[in-house]
């Protein structure tokens, strides 16, 4: 009986959802059209008014900067929640320090060591050029975080731990998250609106153009970089350092 009622409820709500989605899709502009009413306005606002070559960055950090603040704190709180859930419990005990290490092939070690500086450089590049080319703080931050883990792939866990001190990354994450807020408040004080882009626009297409956009990218980059590193560190700790407590 309950099963039947559930099925009926699912059929009714499913049909409603399908109707709503189809109706919404019918109202969308045709697929693959060159012009788009919102797109045209966003592009002209980004390029003409705001002097930002990467239109997407202008939308996320200038025209819709407040939404991105929300997204940044969604990530911040999810990392916080995951760290809390993954903290060592009372039943878990430290493993013996010299747990057998898997063998790393020399070729893997070589490739990892060659890629490490290159990937770090790409990460910094993507963060720094967010206002002019695709990418930005979020993408670059994740690239930087994954780059550090080449230390594990090409070396061992101890090396990874040594280069990812938790206290430092805690500070970097918090400074990144707070930096966004501070830049928003600076806009409020200097320009009269939260996150107002008060800095000079600079020369279009240059690294220092687009006012506060590159600074916001750096703030987000720090937050994402440190957040992902801390998150993965907890997963590594659960997998490699702790035993027992499997409920």
């Amino acid at each position: 009986m309950i099963r039947r009622a559930r099925l009926l409820l699912f059929a009714a709500s499913g049909a409603g959802l399908v109707t709503l989605i189809v109706t919404a899709y019918l109202g969308l502009p045709a697929f693959g059209r060159i012009s788009h009413p919102y797109g045209a306005r966003a592009i002209s606002a980004a390029v003409v008014d705001k002097g930002t070559a990467n239109v997407v960055a202008s939308v996320t950090f200038d025209q819709r900067g407040f939404d991105t603040l929300g997204e940044e704190f969604i990530l911040f709180t999810s990392v916080l929640g995951a760290l809390l859930l993954l903290r060592p419990s009372a039943e878990e005990t430290k493993r013996a320090r010299n747990a057998p290490q898997g063998r790393v092939l020399d070729s893997t070690r070589l490739v990892a060591h060659l890629l490490l500086p290159l990937t770090l450089l790409i990460g910094v590049y993507v963060v720094a050029h967010g206002n002019v080319t695709p990418g930005g703080g979020f993408q670059g931050g994740v690239i930087l975080a994954t780059a550090l883990h080449l230390l594990y792939l090409g070396g061992d866990y101890a090396t990874l731990r040594r280069f990812t001190p938790r206290a430092v990354f805690d500070v970097v994450e918090s400074v990144g998250a707070a930096g966004y807020l501070v830049l928003g408040l600076a806009g409020l004080i200097a320009g009269g609106a939260f996150l107002d882009n008060v800095l000079p626009r600079g020369t279009f297409g240059q690294l220092t153009s687009a006012g506060t956009v590159p600074l916001l990218n750096v703030a987000v980059g720090m937050e994402v970089f440190a957040g992902i590193v801390l998150l993965l560190a907890r997963f590594f700790e659960q997998d490699l350092e702790l035993r027992g407590g499997d409920r």
């Binding site: 693959g32 695709p134 994740v142 690239i143 993965l232 590594f236 997998d239 035993r243």
Partner: protein, 80 residues
């Protein structure tokens, strides 16, 4: 370009199906990574390089890694 888009969309459909049909979480982590790569190619073809970059970093690398970690931890239940 349209033909390329159709191919990319089909690959995404196949990839998504493969993730669901893999059933075992450890295999799903690998198929999810491939699926993430296919999705980022689709985003790139649709002219969204920013989204493609996020998708590549998060969907193809970080999320599958977290799934693998979680699976390893949980599958150790009862051992040791």
């Amino acid at each position: 370009m349209t033909a390329l888009l159709v191919v990319a969309l089909l690959l995404v459909a196949v990839g998504g199906g493969a993730v669901v049909l893999a059933r075992r979480p450890d295999r799903q982590a690998v198929t999810l990574s491939v699926y993430g790569l296919l999705l980022s190619v689709l985003f790139l073809l649709l002219g969204a390089p920013d989204v493609a970059l996020s998708q590549l970093a998060v969907g193809a690398v970080v999320v599958p890694l977290m799934v693998l970690f979680a699976h390893r931890k949980l599958s150790r239940r009862g051992d040791e």
